[in-house]
């Protein structure tokens, strides 16, 4: 062994991480122990190894002691492996003569017995010392990056990300599932706390997307397959037929007027079924692109082929309507992807005690957004389903949030949304408004001030989670009303409050198909089903898959400003990647020692990337290192042991195993 690697001189560094490690692990004892291990020339402990002086210490030792291997025992390699490799490299050593030991996440943070934690740290350090012995100098690997970017989801996050990337001069593909971009924000009436009209601030950005020369906008489309990896993703997008040619339709809407259905009779998705639309429709007047769409489930022509096609006549000269339209597929190549697929609201039918779906005057917050909106189904009149102006309205917070039985998380926006709606309802109707809350969460610029404003407007704040909504009157004053039974925890007694209208502040949850999206793009999900960021504090937009970023509520509940900020961050990451022009990969690829290959072909079908080919002439297998992603599956399977993996050589892992078990 030493013949191959010359004299091995190892330096071992044990990090205190302040007290994060040192409080549980006797770092001094570990360092002293490490000094006794074969090949170790110097072993030290230090308060913060990742700090400049810490790195400087390693570099100085490399020079002073002619170290040719370095082991750092500190946090997880996912945090600082890169840092230390670079430090080692700056001191003139190959960066891969380095091994990191995780004694924080895997030791001091999960154990409390100091003695046991110290022993564990020693075992892990010993394993690393024995492993690093076999490390080889490796070349850094780089792949070129295609500067084009794909943005998935056309809500406010996707729109902002797309515009930011496009403004930097890169090509952007924006793919949206619905017939228009705009997302949930387009359905909101006002935005908190400034009460800006949502449409007024959103629609200019929507048109900017449509007009931007660098943006290709595909609505009514879905990503169906993703191949490749960072720098070169190959993506297939399905474009669903809208039975209207986007390039010809000018959005005059005469076809809608002409449709044989004189009455609109199909639930209008944009207004959450509070109004009706025709089979040919436009989701809302400012829809982008401003192109009508035909609902194949409702259109007589598409269902039976027997319609007099009045729409076709109305569109005569333009000929934009095309009943023969079929779905098409577009293949694109991009270097990175921003996912901003948003959320769905909690279905309150899951909590039957609130009577949603049973009592007509129980609404969700999103429905009330449409009711208070001047262009909504009631023209901005807040009226109950039976047409009355409510005299008392109750808004119930945390519906499907902070609840072990439904969703455990706080949805973050409902408190402010409810304050806003309380203000608007009061403004529109003069009703007594009750907000039933558990905790009022108004953290944000200007939010607490808005809370104060609503308090002063005389909205009643009842601290208590409503146990049930019934229509069961126990008192003449309750006849014909919905009654909220709730403990007013501030006064300490149970109250019955009669209401004309109940608004459920439904929480935010992952889209129904988030799991499919997660698999499609090869990213992770957290326990709650929202997409998983690389680091909750320091990398809240990158994912564990290089070149894929997440933005907006698909990563976790957040309000509009936070979504916009995260979208900008994702865009900046994508732009930085494109401008760098390359991405550095771990050099952990597999390779084959040709002399030892028996030509059995076991490895060939194992590789999911078709990186292994067989040379029929030489009867040997060969790994294409450009295609290899470094999983090591073929290495483990090779019967002759002729396939090796950089960074994970057999002897490296065997010595690690022996290292952790040396005392067993």
């Amino acid at each position: 062994m030493s013949e191959r690697n010359g004299e091995v001189r190892i330096g071992v560094y044990i990090c205190h991480c302040g007290v994060n490690i040192a409080a549980t692990v006797d770092v001094r004892a570990v360092a002293e122990y490490a000094a006794t291990l074969p090949g170790v020339v110097v072993a030290r402990d230090y308060k913060y190894m990742c700090s400049d002086p810490g790195q400087e210490m390693i570099q100085q030792d490399i020079r002073d002691h002619q170290l040719n291997r370095v082991v750092v025992a500190a946090c997880s390699p996912s945090l600082h492996e890169r840092t230390f490799r670079n430090a080692v490299e700056r001191a003139g050593l190959n960066p891969f003569f380095f091994q990191m030991v995780n004694i924080r996440e895997h030791d001091s943070w999960v154990h409390s017995d100091r003695e046991a934690a110290t022993e564990k740290a020693k075992d892990l350090v010993r394993a690393a010392v024995m492993r690093v012995y076999f490390h080889k100098p490796l070349e850094r690997r780089r792949v070129p990056v295609n500067p084009d970017v794909l943005v998935v989801g056309g809500g406010i996050a996707g729109i902002h990300a797309a515009l930011t990337v496009a403004n930097s001069g890169k090509r952007v593909y924006l793919v949206e599932r619905e017939p228009t971009i705009g997302g949930h924000m387009a359905q909101f009436d006002k935005t908190f706390p400034t009460l800006d009209c949502a449409a007024c601030i959103l629609t200019p950005k929507m048109s900017a997307v449509k007009e931007h020369p660098n943006i290709t906008l595909w609505t009514y489309s879905e990503v169906v397959s993703v191949d490749g990896s960072v720098g070169d993703y190959r993506v297939v997008v399905k474009r669903k037929p809208r039975y209207v040619r986007e390039d010809l339709c000018v959005g005059c809407l005469q076809c809608i007027e002409a449709c044989v259905f004189k009455e609109a009779k199909f639930d209008d998705e944009f207004n959450l079924g509070l109004s009706k639309r025709k089979p040919i429709y436009i989701p809302f007047p400012q829809a982008t692109p401003k192109v009508v769409v035909i609902d194949p489930e409702a259109c007589i022509q598409l269902r039976t082929g027997k319609c007099k096609k009045a729409c076709l006549e109305a569109c005569a000269e333009r000929g934009a309507i095309d009943f023969e339209q079929k779905e098409t597929y577009e293949e694109i190549h991009v270097g990175s992807i921003i996912i901003a697929t948003g959320f769905q609201t909690f279905d309150p039918r899951r909590m039957p005690q609130y009577g949603y779906g049973k009592y007509p005057n129980v609404y969700t917050t999103l429905e009330v957004e449409r009711l208070v909106n001047a262009s909504g189904p009631t023209g901005g009149q807040v009226v109950t389903r039976d047409g009355r102006v409510p005299e008392s309205v109750g808004i119930i917070l945390c519906v499907g949030s902070r609840d072990e039985r439904t969703n455990r998380w706080c949805s973050r926006v409902c408190c402010m949304t409810s304050l806003k709606l309380a203000h608007l309802i009061k403004e529109h109707t003069g009703a007594e408004v009750f907000i039933f809350y558990i905790d009022m969460r108004a953290a944000g610029k200007g939010y607490e001030e808005f809370y104060q404003r609503v308090l002063n407007e005389g909205v009643h704040f009842v601290r208590g989670r409503v146990a049930e909504i019934t229509d069961w009157a126990m008192d003449p004053s309750e006849e014909g009303k919905l009654i909220a039974r709730v403990e007013d925890t501030n006064t300490g007694f149970v109250r019955r409050i009669p209401l004309d209208m109940v608004v459920l502040a439904v929480g935010l949850e992952p889209q129904f198909d988030a799991l499919n999206v997660q698999r499609l793009f090869g990213i992770g999900c957290s326990m709650d089903g929202f997409f998983l960021e690389r680091h909750p504090k320091l990398a809240p937009s990158p994912t564990y898959t290089d070149g894929i970023f997440i933005a907006g509520v698909c990563q976790g509940p957040k309000d509009i400003p936070d979504s916009v900020m995260q979208a900008g961050y994702a865009a900046a990451e994508a732009i930085a990647l494109a401008d760098t022009g390359f991405f550095e990969l771990e050099p952990n690829t597999a390779y084959i020692i040709a002399e030892e290959c028996s030509g059995c072909k076991t490895c060939i079908p194992l590789c999911p990337y078709q990186a292994i080919t067989f040379n029929e002439e030489k009867k040997k297998a060969f790994v294409n290192e450009v295609l290899c992603k470094g999983c090591g599956t073929c290495v483990a399977a090779c019967p002759s042991g002729s396939i090796k993996q950089n960074l994970f050589e057999d002897e490296e892992i065997f010595s690690e195993i022996e290292g952790v078990l040396a005392y067993a």
């Binding site: 997880s76 999960v110 999983c631």
Partner: protein, 173 residues
């Protein structure tokens, strides 16, 4: 003798602590273990984690080597089926795992000493739970201590050989 599990023949000493070697894939289970750390979810300390890029890299020899060097149990952690960072490495692991179980059975090592678990990056709690369960299970099975067994067998073999030799010498004499 071969039919009985090896551990039956060993006396459990009072100070014995089980030791489990865990092979965790870089993308799911190792990350989940990091998450367990960040969330300070305490778990049994008798585990040593070795990181591999994919559970598919876990060569059956690694497992046997770990047992041979004194591990009382081996835990393999990979991504959930369908979630593998390398498309389908974990399926290969599953196939090997079943084969390995048979090999272990033939060697007289209890199947409970080897466990494969799918743990996603978000499942820190599951890491803690699985490790605790595994350590407890191995504790219940008692020490495997192949290293010591090997020494005993070697000694036995050596004495047999010595006997045989002396017999040989005797016959020749």
């Amino acid at each position: 003798m071969e039919d009985k599990p090896i551990t039956d023949q060993l006396v459990t000493s009072a100070d014995w602590e089980p030791l489990v070697v865990a092979f965790f894939c870089n993308w799911c289970t190792y990350t989940a273990a990091d998450l367990a750390g960040v969330s300070r979810m305490g778990y049994d300390h008798n585990v040593r984690v070795i990181r591999v890029m994919c559970s598919g890299r876990v060569d059956p020899q690694f497992v046997l080597d770990a047992f041979a060097h004194g591990a009382d149990g081996v835990l393999i952690g990979g991504c959930h089926p369908g979630d593998c960072h390398y498309v389908e490495g974990n399926y290969k692991t599953l196939r090997r795992y079943h084969l390995l179980k048979r090999v272990l059975r033939d060697l007289g090592i209890e199947e409970g000493r080897l466990r494969l678990e799918w743990i996603a990056a978000s499942e820190g709690e599951k890491v803690a739970k699985t490790i605790n369960e595994m350590v407890e299970q191995v504790r219940a099975l008692g020490p495997l201590r192949l290293t010591r067994r090997f020494k005993e067998w070697d000694a036995e073999l050596a004495s047999h050989e010595a006997e045989a030799q002396s017999e040989e010498v005797a016959t020749h004499a």
